[in-house]
């Protein structure tokens, strides 16, 4: 029985992984080999599709994605950490109402605000500008970050804070010695989640950017051509664009879980 369940787990794992493996394998085949039926698994490996992808000048969109993701993640942390402090360690009155206000903004569908946001960008000349995306991605991730950071900071033991205060420790010492050790894993989980969600975002980027500030997901949607075979090239592009997220997610699986569950699971 136990062996059967182990096999079932392996089977499920391979089944879910198969499309990813297929994506990588296809990207390593030549276009004709990628488009056969039945599939040719053992076709010779070639890096032509990757060469074609990098020849198509993908760097501007990749760098745009990187700047938007890193920029907004930094901005989110700068805003979320002090806010979380005021919602957990030195609590403001009605802190739980404030917390729920943040979460409720996450439930407001982004499409509902798309038009005014577009008009503002148009009137202020911020269309096709990466800093405008940074602001939007920050607003998109800030509620998640506030929740996450709060749940981590809430674990700072109150007795130790009081003891530190009685011993005459200043704010900086308290923050460094007592708060930081608890906050660091939270900052890591928050950064990972914010980076992934910003990197993946398509709707805002598609509506608000063009040739200058287009991000990697937007670039990907334009990679499908109507002429000729393109399957291997699409797969190569998909692999390259997904690689940062795959690497970061695999490397920090526990942080991923903490982040996705808004810190409910530690």
């Amino acid at each position: 029985m136990s062996r059967i369940l182990g096999l079932a787990a392996w089977f499920a794992g391979l089944l879910f992984f198969a499309p990813v493996a297929w994506m990588v394998l296809t990207s390593l085949h030549s276009e004709p080999d990628a488009a056969t039926n039945p599939p040719s698994l053992a076709a010779p490996v070639t890096f032509d599709s990757y060469a074609a992808f990098f020849d198509s000048d993908p760097w501007p969109p990749l760098i745009n994605s990187l700047s938007a993701s890193i920029g907004s993640t930094v901005l989110v942390l700068l805003l979320a950490i002090p806010a979380a402090y005021a919602l957990s360690i030195k609590k403001v009155e009605k802190w739980s109402d404030v917390l729920f206000f943040f979460l409720s903004t996450k439930m407001l569908p982004v499409v509902a605000g798309l038009l005014p946001i577009y008009l503002v960008a148009q009137y202020t000349g911020m269309l096709d500008n990466i800093s405008f995306l940074v602001v939007l991605y920050t607003s998109m991730n800030l509620p998640i970050a506030v929740w996450l950071m709060r749940s981590f900071l809430a674990e700072v033991p109150g007795e130790i804070l009081e003891a530190a205060a009685l011993d005459g420790a200043g704010l900086v010492t308290t923050l460094r010695r007592v708060v930081a050790p608890v906050a660091m894993p939270g900052i890591a989980a928050t950064s990972l989640i914010c980076f992934i969600f910003s990197w993946n975002e398509l709707l805002f980027a598609r509506v608000l950017t063009g040739v200058v500030a287009g991000t990697a997901p937007v670039y990907l949607t334009g990679f499908v051509t109507s002429q000729g075979l393109f399957l291997a090239k699409v797969c190569a592009a998909a692999v390259v664009v997904s690689l940062p997220v795959l690497v970061a997610g695999f490397a920090a699986q526990d942080k991923l879980v903490q982040g996705l569950s808004l810190g409910a699971v530690k």
């Binding site: 369940l5 182990g6 787990a9 499920a12 794992g13 391979l14 879910f16 992984f17 198969a18 499309p19 297929w22 296809t26 990628a34 488009a35 039926n37 039945p38 599939p39 805003l79 002090p82 806010a83 005021a86 919602l87 030195k90 609590k91 917390l99 729920f100 206000f101 903004t105 439930m107 407001l108 569908p109 509902a112 605000g113 798309l114 038009l115 005014p116 503002v120 602001v135 920050t138 607003s139 509620p143 506030v146 809430a154 398509l202 997901p217 949607t221 499908v224 797969c235 998909a238 997904s242 997220v245 795959l246 695999f250 699986q253 991923l256 879980v257 996705l260 569950s261 409910a264 699971v265």
Partner: protein, 315 residues
């Protein structure tokens, strides 16, 4: 401790007027770190919605800029009588419910399988997470071209492998468009549910399970009366977060079917109204309808989270 300090503070004689000022100042010192995030969120997420509300009451088509004015509820009448938008509401509901429920059930199954020790468990877990880490547009392109393509997609390729040259070769996307979108989303979101539920399973108090086993409880009884109640809040959390993201799904619908064949959900339809028809008033009215719908769902969902929060406070 706090009570003691407060008692001391009360006992100290102070002029009443100054105490009020000091208290107010102290309150603002407490609030200060919160304000940047709060103001930023209100400006960036709430003001656009107010603007949407205003525009939804206006006659405003960007192709006809001179004819702009107050339209009353005309846009709303248009929204509710527009068959596209009505079907979009239905599609959104079906898509969200199907994807959330199926991924929850599959995620639960996988989490239970992974909660046991077996050779290569870490590797299987890593393989199972992979779909969630593929960029959503990339995943949608992968499914559309590399899996669903009727001529050379993997699905029909496998059918040819299994049944030879006369194997059925279905047109996955045009034959079952909504199911095609749902399957790709279930593939991406099942790992998400599994991760949350697995973490829930691993936080289960082991001694209670041991005690029940010793008392002769069957595995089903352990699952039904110990595991499931413990998992309830994790199931709710997964359903809540999954709904938040899947209600807003744009990438899969945009990429796999371009909203055709009856798969246009609300985000896609609003995107299209605004992007192609340039009818700002009607797009905004549709946006308001979506928001009202979301508020109804969100009120329920927030109650779930608030019960989680209370438990945390008590614990």
């Amino acid at each position: 401790m706090t009570a003691v300090r407060e008692a001391v503070a009360r006992a100290e004689p102070r002029p009443p007027a100054r105490t009020g000022q000091v208290k107010a100042a102290a309150r603002w010192v407490r609030r200060a770190p919160l304000l940047p995030a709060l103001v930023f969120t209100i400006v960036v997420t709430q003001l656009p919605f107010v603007a949407t509300l205003v525009i939804s009451l206006m006659r405003w088509n960007s192709l006809d800029p001179t004819n702009r004015g107050f339209a009353g509820i005309d846009n709303y009448t248009a929204v509710f009588t527009d068959p596209d938008l009505r079907s979009a509401i239905g599609v959104t509901a079906v898509l969200t419910a199907t994807v959330v429920l199926v991924s929850l059930v599959l995620g639960l199954g996988l989490a239970l399988l992974l909660d046991r020790k077996f050779a290569g468990r870490g590797l299987v877990r890593t393989m199972l997470i992979a779909p969630f880490l593929v960029v959503p547009v990339a995943a949608a392109l992968l499914w559309k071209h590399a899996l669903y393509n009727p001529e050379y997609g993997l699905l029909n390729g496998v059918l040819t492998w299994l049944f030879g040259a006369d194997a059925p070769q279905p047109e996955w996307i045009s034959g079952m468009p909504l199911l095609a979108v749902e399957a790709s989303l279930v593939w991406q979101w099942t790992p998400f549910m599994m991760l949350i539920l697995l973490a829930g399973l691993q936080s289960r108090p082991q001694d209670a399970v041991e005690a029940a086993r010793i008392d002769g409880a069957t595995p089903w009884q352990v699952f039904r009366y110990l595991t499931l109640p413990h998992l309830r809040q994790y199931l709710e959390l997964g359903a809540l977060l999954g709904s938040i993201y899947i209600v807003q799904n744009f990438d899969a619908v945009f990429t796999i079917t371009s909203g055709g064949l009856g798969t246009a959900n609300l985000p896609y339809t609003i995107y299209q109204t605004f992007y192609q028809a340039h009818d700002y008033g009607q797009a905004s009215a549709a946006g308001v309808v979506v928001v009202v719908g979301s508020i109804v769902i969100a009120t329920f969902a927030l109650r779930v989270v608030s019960s989680l929060l209370r438990e945390e406070v008590r614990g």
